[in-house]
């Protein structure tokens, strides 16, 4: 009798602990690159607006270099990471079995910045020019290689200068004719320097994005093959939550900026500016309840930018403008989906760079849209 009672009690305890465990959010670390920055706003929105919590996750964010993000995901020390597409191909060529499950940037964020007076809009004019890149690695180098190929040029036709992540300063000192940069961010910084008269003879800058020439797979969410096989339901919940957070950021950038304040210490937080953003965020929520089209939402962002520019200087607005610029690179009718052609274009670029060995990389294994489709 006592034995039976003990079994029942233990059983009840196990069941109740299981229920508690189900209710408890699962701790998940998402590994990002760079440093905390408004460009990671969708992740901050996911946390602050509760999208991750609704999906059963207590998400924490960490920032590492791309190869470290990828290796830690590959060996299962973290379940989720964000890297650029070329890293996935390179890593898979070195036996890292990772899978790209959500394309965050629909447009490749890299491009050339140059003095508008120089007019390098015809890429053939790059011949004999000095081009600054952070180094011969990463998305910038891939982007430059793709641009040169598109212009029927090779690296030998130009002078490549490794300038580290100092493009605004090096460009304004006149050490390079053009620089490969993240087009959502650095051209804005350079233009601000030019406006202040701190960029030599440069009055205005122009950009040519890689995305305008070729569709390369860009930054996205990765997981390990093991996680995909072992717990696809969890991956589905994470992708779904992130898709919602990304859409919320695109639809309401003022609210996204306010959510980012808790995560990015360096964001300007002048009270009058924040008050206006709060009012804008509220108004945008009402507007979104009318189910506007994507184009109408884009118009609302432009209108907000215009209103803010009339009231605030570039010091207060710079980070918000970077967010708006970046949203243009994320926005699409269907978020998260990547296509084989963009992977093939990136693969071909990496081959031109001599970064891939002779062993073929099976691109269809490198990405999956199954969770994106299910999330829609």
């Amino acid at each position: 009798m006592f034995k039976l009672l003990a079994i029942v009690i233990i059983g009840l305890l196990l069941v109740s602990s299981g229920v508690v465990a189900q209710d408890q959010p699962l701790d998940e670390q998402i590994l990002l690159t760079f440093v905390p920055n408004v460009q990671f706003a969708p992740f901050y929105v996911g946390i602050e607006a509760g999208y991750f919590a609704e999906a059963g996750f207590a998400v924490s964010l960490d920032h590492l270099q791309e190869p470290e993000v990828l290796d830690l995901v590959a060996v299962g020390q973290a379940n989720y990471g964000v890297v650029s597409g070329e890293q996935v191909i390179l890593a898979r060529s070195q036996n890292r079995d990772v899978v790209y499950v959500f394309e965050w940037f629909q447009q490749y964020p890299v491009g050339l910045v140059y003095d508008r007076a120089l007019d390098l809009s015809d890429l053939g004019d790059l011949r004999d020019k000095t081009i600054g890149i952070p180094g011969r690695f990463g998305a910038s180098y891939s982007g430059l290689t793709a641009l040169l190929h598109d212009a029927n040029l090779t690296e030998t036709d130009i002078e490549v200068s490794e300038i580290g992540f100092n493009a605004p300063e090096v460009f304004c000192l006149g050490l390079v004719d053009a620089a490969v940069v993240y087009i959502n961010n650095e051209p804005l910084q350079i233009q601000q320097l030019a406006d202040a008269g701190d960029c030599g003879a440069v009055q205005a800058v122009a950009t040519t994005s890689v995305a305008s020439q070729v569709d390369l797979v860009s930054n996205g969410l990765i997981i390990s093959r093991a996680l995909l096989d072992d717990d696809p339901a969890a991956v589905q919940r994470m992708v779904g939550a992130y898709a919602k957070a990304l859409r919320a950021t695109i639809d309401n950038p003022a609210a996204a900026y306010l959510a980012s304040l808790a995560h990015v210490e360096s964001l300007p937080r002048e009270q009058s500016f924040l008050d206006m953003l709060e009012a804008a965020a509220e108004a945008q929520s009402d507007f979104l309840s009318e189910l506007p089209s994507r184009a109408e939402v884009a118009d609302s962002r432009a209108e907000l930018a215009s209103q803010l520019q009339s009231r605030f200087g570039s010091g207060s607005l710079a980070q918000f403008t970077i967010l708006l610029n970046t949203i243009e690179l994320w926005d699409a009718d269907q978020l998260g989906s990547s296509d084989l052609a963009s992977w093939q274009a990136m693969h071909a670029t990496l081959q031109r760079m001599g970064f891939l060995g002779e062993a073929p990389v099976e691109l269809s294994d490198a990405f999956s849209n199954q969770f994106v489709v299910a999330a829609e």
Partner: protein, 268 residues
């Protein structure tokens, strides 16, 4: 009596000498063996820690295609030129400061503040100031080796026995004679100790600069290898840096041993 002892003592003494010489090699072999065991048993993923055989293969490949030599030569050039400049400035300023305490009062806040800032913090600025070529890396190296040389030079010169200085004065020795025959020999042990520290720091200075921006150099090779997920090549690059640091340290230690031979003789 001495000649009777020698034949009996020699084999043991030589044995101990050989044992001491081979001890570091034994440690290295033990670490490689342990590393191989860890890799064979896959206690750590090969993604994080490749096997010694994979590293050896990467080394052979990098040597065969000439890439390792090309990158290593660049780093070596930056190290040696930076070391010479930094040590030269450190010795000169150290001597002057040791002789002029007021100058120390004037310069010490600047020197200490500059030295206490990690070099990685201002390495990106050096790219802007000195361009993207080797100059910035040479300056980084010179800065990092300057301080130990400076401090040890000051300590060495100031640690001089005052009675010996009085003796030279009473003998009406010229400034040059005092420097060459008293101050330099007396300060050399401390200065050379500083130079040993500087020689190992030189590698760090050059590589930090290369991490910020470089086409060639072991730092650039690490960045390139890492971006291609070629972990064995990263380890090859790191081991080459270690070899450079050890070689420079050993060279200075050898110079110290030769230059200070008089000191050993005088103490035995």
């Amino acid at each position: 009596m001495q000649s009777q002892h020698k034949p009996g003592l020699r084999p043991a003494r030589y044995g101990r000498k050989w044992l001491r010489m081979l001890a570091p090699l034994g440690t290295i072999l033990f670490i490689i063996a342990l590393w191989q065991v860890i890799a064979s048993l896959e206690l750590i993923s090969p993604i994080l820690l490749p096997a010694p055989a994979a590293v050896a293969s990467a080394l052979a490949k990098a040597l065969a295609d000439g890439s390792l030599l090309k990158h290593a030569a660049t780093t070596l050039e930056e190290m040696l030129v930076g070391l010479c400049i930094g040590v030269g400035f450190g010795l000169t300023l150290g001597y002057v400061i040791a002789k002029a305490p007021l100058l120390e009062n004037l310069l010490s806040p600047l020197i200490v503040a500059f030295q206490s800032t990690p070099i990685v913090a201002y390495a990106p600025l050096l790219v802007i100031w000195f361009g993207t070529g080797v100059t910035g890396k040479i300056v980084t190296t010179a800065i990092i080796v300057f301080f130990p040389t400076l401090v040890n030079t000051i300590a060495g010169i100031r640690g001089l026995d005052p009675s010996l200085a009085d003796l030279f004065r009473s003998l009406r020795a010229s400034r040059w004679q005092t420097f060459w025959q008293l101050e330099l020999p007396a300060a050399l042990p401390v200065i050379l100790a500083g130079l040993k520290t500087s020689s190992t720091l030189a590698v760090i200075g050059a590589v930090v600069g290369e991490f910020v921006s470089a086409r060639y150099g072991l730092g650039a090779l690490v960045m390139a290898a890492r971006s291609r997920y070629d972990t064995p090549l990263v380890i090859v690059s790191a081991l080459t840096m270690t070899t450079f640091a050890l070689a420079l340290y050993s060279l200075v230690a050898y110079i110290e041993w030769r230059v200070l031979a008089w000191r050993r003789r005088s103490t035995t």
